[in-house]
Amino acid sequence: MFLPSAAGKTTDPGRRPLVSAFDLFAFVLVFGLFALFTQGTQQTLIPIADMEQVPISLSPWALPEYALRTTLRMLAAIIASLIFTFAYGALAAKSRRAEMVLIPVLDILQSVPVLGFLSFTVLFFMNLFPGQVIGVEMAAVFAIFTSQAWNMTFSFYQSLKTLPRDLEEVSRSFRLTGWQRFWRLEVPFSMPGLVWNTMMSMSGGWFFVVASEAISVGNTTITLPGIGAYVSTAIAEKDLVAVGWSVLAMLVIILIYDQLLFRPLVAWADRFRFEQSAGAPPPRSWVLDLVKRAHLFRLVLSPLGSLFRGAARMPLRSPVPVPHHVSRAWASRPMDGVWTAMVIGVALYGLWLIVSFVATEVGWREVLNVVWLGFLTLIRVAVLIALASLVWVPVGVWIGLRPKVANALQPVAQFLAAFPANIVFPFAVVMIVRFGLDPNVWLSPLMILGTQWYILFNVIAGASAFPNDMKEAASSFHLKGAQWWFKVILPGVFPYYVTGALTASGGSWNASIVAEVASWGNTTLRAEGLGSYIAEATTAADFPRITLGIAIMSLYVMAFNRTLWRPLFTFASKRLRLD
C-alpha cells in the first residue's frame, strides 16, 4: 500500500509520550484483525467433503464469522480487480493495437450479467481444484471480481488517456523509466477516479457475494460459509428472524468497511486530485488521522511505505533495448493489416463456436422466444427506472437543496445503494405468498430494490452542487412551480441523474436473474422474463441455454445503453454542464 509520506515529518517523535491512547487502540485493531484473518483463511484449504459436514448454522452467534468470511472474499476480489485494472488498463492505453480489441471487449464485459455466467465459473474453478474448497472460493471471488473490475479498469484507462500533457512531457524530458513513470505519474494521477470507482464497485459487489455464496448448478449445490449462505439457509428453513439477523450483520459490515477502508482511502487520495487550487474542504477520516498519529501504525507501516516508495523510484527499464528497425517494423502499416486480420479471424471463430454450441440444443423458435422474454424484462427495467425516477428525483432535489438534510441523508442513500437487496427479498416473497399477488407484477420491484438508491444519491449530489447564484436568480425572477422545475432545477441535476439512472438500470438487469425467481421454503415464485430463463437454465445446468440467455441479455443491455443512455450522456455533458 501507499503511505502518506508527510506523516513521518509533521510530528517530532522525541517529544511525544512513549505510548498513547491511540497506540492502545491501534494495537487492538491491528492484532484483532490479524487473528480473525488467519482463522478465516485457514478454512479455505480444507476439502469440500469436510465442509459439507458442517451445515450452516442459523444461530446469530455464527454470524460474525460468516461476515468475516464474506468480507475476506470481497477483499480478495478487490485485490484481484486492482491487479487486473493495472495490467489491462495500462496495456489498452499504451498499445494502439491492444486498445482496438481490449476496449470493445471491456465494453461488452460490462454489459454481461455477472450472475449469468456464475455457473460457468463455478464449474471451471471446481475442475481446476477438484474436491477442494479453494476452487469454490475462487469461483465466488471471481464472480465478485467480474462485478467490480470493469468499471475500475475503464476509469484507469480513461485516466491514462487523459494524462496532463505537461506532466507527461516532464516525465519524458527527465527521462523517467517506464516503471518510474507508472508509479510516479500514471497511478497517482488516476488515483481519485480509481478510488471512487473501487468504492462504487465494492458497493455493487455485496450483492454478488451474497448471490454467489449459495448456488446450485445442476446436481452440485455449493454453500460457502458466509452471509449469503446464511440467508439462503434461512430461506430454505423459513426462518424470518435469521433473515433479520443477517440484515443487521450486513449493515454492520458495510459500516465497518466504509469507516475502516474507504473513508481513509478517500481522505488519503485527496492529495492526488489534479486541480492545483484548494477548493472544497478536504475529506477527513478518523482512521487516517489515527494511522498518522499512532506510533505503532507508523512503526509497522513506515518500513513498508519506504520499501514501496523505494521500489517506485528505482530506475528499472527493460534490460534489452528494442532495436530501432524492429520497433519500426512493428509499428508499420502492413503489421496493422496483419493484426486486423487476426482479430477478425478470432472473432469469426468465436462467433462460430457460440452459434454451434447453442445450436446443439436450441432452435430458432426458442431464440425468438428468448428475445421475447428479454423484451418483457426490458419493459420491467424501463418502467421501474421511470417510476423510481418519478419518486426519487423530486425527493433528491428536496434533500439536496437543504445542505443540513443532505449532509445527514447522503451517507444513508449511499449506504442503501451498497446494501445487498437480495437479503431482504424473503420479506417481499412472504408478502406475495401471503396475499396471493401476481408474481409477474409483484416480483418486479425487487429488481430495483437495491439499485434505485443510485438515482437518489446522484440527484442529491447534483442538487447540492447546484450553484447558489442560479438559485438566487431563479427566486429573484419569481420562477415557481412547473417553470422552476423544468427551466431551473431539472436541467441542473440532469447530468447527475443520468449517471445514477445508468448505474441503476445496469444493476437492475443483473438483479433480474435473482429477482424473477424467488423462493420461500418449498414455494417458488416465478415471473416470466429473461432473468428467470437464465436462472432456471442455471439450476438445470443447461449450458447452451445459459449461453443464449446471457448473450441476449448482453445485447439488450448494450442496445439500451447505446440508444438511450449514451445519447443522454452526450447531451448532458455538452449542453447542461454548469462548470
Binding site: 512531457e169 527527465f174 523517467l176 505519474l185 530506475p315
Partner: protein
C-alpha cells in the same frame, strides 16, 4: 532562409538545421507548422525565441529537447543527432507542470531519481537547488499550498538540480501576475549574471517583447503561419538592464514594428491595403466584438485622438503584446484601423463606428465584415444561393480544413459566427448545427 550566426565560443550546444514540422490533416495534406528553421545555440548565452502564439516556437522547443521528432531536417545536441529526450537538458514549463501529489522536495528530486542517483546525494543536491532558488523552508509543502510564483520556483529548482548544460524555458513567466513575474525574472537574471546557475546556456520561448529584451543576448523573431525565423537581433545592453533607458525602448519599438508587419517581414511599411483582407484560407483570431468596440473607443479618445503607439497603448490598457496584436490586426482586417511602423491609426470607418449608436454600429460592422472577410462573404453567398437559405456547419468546416488544421478551422468558424451574430449578417443554430440567413426565434 535566415541563418543565425554561430557563436564564437566553440562547438554549439544545439544545432538546428532546416527543420520542418507539419501535422497530418488528411491522407493527402499536411499542415505546415515550422518551415525550414535553422539556428544554433552556443555555450554561455541566453537566446530568446520571440513570436506570436501559434508561430510554432513551443513546437521548436520540444523538437530541440527531443520530445517531438521533426518531420524533416536535423537537430544536433552537442554534435550528436537527437533521437529522443536528451541528457543534459531540462525544461521549465509555462504551466509549472508539478506533480501535485509530490512535495516540493520530491518534485525537485524526480529528475535525479531517473538518473539513478542514491538517496543521500539526491537529497543533498535537491536541498542545494531549493536553497539557491529561494525555496528553503518549503521542502515539505505540496504545490497546492504554494502561490504561482513559488510553484514556478519549484519548476526552476527541478530543472536546475540535474545540472543541465542547456535550460529550456517555455514561457516560464506568462502564467504569473506582473509583479511576481518581474521578481522571479530578476532573480533568475541575477543568478545567471553572478554565475550561480549550474547551467551553460538558456533558451527561452516568449511572446513578451520586453521580457525578451530584458533577458536575452540574442532574440530570434518568429513569423507565424508557418513559423519561420524572420529576424535575428543581438542585444548587447549590459545587465542589469533598465526598462526606461532610451536604448531599451528603441529596441522594444523596433521589435514591435517588425512584428506587426507579419505578411512581409522586413518589407517597407505602408503597403497596399488589399493585402490585409482575410482570404478564405486566413485563420481568424477569436477577438470579441466588445473588445473591438472598446479598443476603438479608447483609440478615438484622448490622449490618443485616433493614433497610438502600440507599446504605449499596450501599457496603457495593461495588455501584453500578445493580446494586443490579434486585436490590432483584426481591426486592420475590418478596416477600422491601420497598423504601420508600430503605430495604430483609426480609419474614417473606425471613427464612424465609434460615433454611431447600437443599431448603426451593427450595420456598419456587418458591412465591413462582408466586405473584407472572405469567409463571412462566402457563407452569406452560399446561404443566399440555396433555396432553403440554410447550410450545415460541416459544409464550411470541411472547406476550411483544406487550408488549416481542424482546431484552427473550428476556431475560425466560431469566430466568424460570433462576428456575424453581432452584425446580424447570418444566423447559426447550435442545436442543429445549421447556418441560416435569418434567426428563426
Amino acid at each position: 532562409m535566415l541563418e543565425t550566426a554561430a557563436s564564437k565560443a566553440g562547438t554549439p550546444l544545439v544545432e538546428v538545421s532546416h527543420v520542418v514540422q507539419s501535422f497530418k490533416k488528411n491522407d493527402n495534406n499536411r499542415f505546415l507548422v515550422l518551415d525550414d528553421v535553422s539556428l544554433s545555440i552556443a555555450e554561455g548565452e541566453i537566446v530568446g525565441l520571440l513570436g506570436r502564439s501559434g508561430s510554432g516556437k513551443s513546437t521548436l522547443l520540444r523538437i530541440i529537447s527531443g520530445l517531438v521528432p521533426p518531420y524533416a531536417g536535423e537537430v544536433k545536441w552537442c554534435g550528436e543527432a537527437v533521437k529522443g529526450p536528451c541528457k543534459g537538458l531540462s525544461m521549465v514549463f509555462q504551466t509549472f507542470a508539478l506533480f501535485p501529489w509530490l512535495t516540493v522536495l520530491q518534485n525537485v528530486e524526480i529528475g535525479l531519481e531517473a538518473l539513478g542517483i542514491d538517496a543521500t546525494e539526491r537529497r543533498r543536491r535537491a536541498e542545494q537547488a531549493i536553497d539557491l532558488i529561494g525555496l528553503g523552508g518549503f521542502e515539505s509543502a505540496y504545490p497546492k499550498e504554494l502561490s504561482g510564483g513559488m510553484r514556478q520556483r519549484v519548476g526552476f529548482a527541478r530543472a536546475l538540480v540535474v545540472h543541465p548544460r542547456l535550460m529550456l524555458m517555455d514561457e516560464p513567466f506568462s502564467a504569473l501576475d506582473v509583479l511576481t513575474a518581474e521578481t522571479l525574472r530578476t532573480d533568475i537574471i541575477d543568478l545567471w549574471t553572478d554565475g550561480l546557475l549550474p547551467i551553460k546556456s538558456i533558451l527561452i520561448v516568449t511572446h513578451n517583447i520586453e521580457e525578451a529584451v530584458l533577458m536575452c543576448d540574442r532574440v530570434l523573431i518568429f513569423s507565424s503561419n508557418p513559423g519561420r525565423v524572420a529576424h535575428e537581433m543581438p542585444i548587447t545592453l549590459p545587465h542589469p538592464r533598465d526598462r526606461l533607458a532610451p536604448e531599451f525602448r528603441e529596441l522594444v519599438e523596433d521589435i514591435y514594428a517588425r512584428m506587426t508587419n507579419r505578411h512581409a517581414p522586413g518589407a517597407t511599411p505602408g503597403q497596399g491595403a488589399a493585402s490585409h483582407d482575410a482570404g478564405l484560407a486566413t485563420a481568424l483570431e477569436p477577438v470579441s466584438t466588445n473588445l473591438m468596440a472598446g479598443l476603438l473607443e479608447e483609440l478615438a479618445d484622448a490622449p490618443y485622438n485616433g493614433r497610438a503607439d502600440l507599446p504605449a497603448l499596450a501599457d496603457g490598457l495593461n495588455l501584453s503584446a500578445d493580446a494586443l496584436f490579434p486585436m490590432a490586426e483584426t481591426l486592420q482586417m475590418l478596416r477600422f484601423a491601420e497598423v504601420t511602423e508600430g503605430d495604430i491609426i483609426l480609419t474614417p470607418a473606425g471613427r464612424a463606428f465609434v460615433e454611431a449608436d447600437v443599431e448603426p454600429r451593427k450595420n456598419q460592422f456587418a458591412k465591413q465584415l462582408l466586405g473584407h472577410v472572405a469567409l463571412a462573404a462566402h457563407i452569406r453567398r452560399v446561404l443566399e444561393e440555396r433555396p432553403s437559405h440554410r447550410a450545415p456547419y460541416s459544409r464550411f468546416s470541411e472547406e476550411l480544413e483544406d487550408h488549416m488544421s481542424e482546431e484552427f478551422a473550428e476556431r475560425t468558424l466560431r469566430t466568424v459566427i460570433s462576428w456575424a451574430r453581432y452584425g446580424e449578417a447570418f444566423a447559426y443554430d447550435e442545436k442543429t448545427q445549421q447556418f441560416s440567413l435569418e434567426d428563426e426565434d
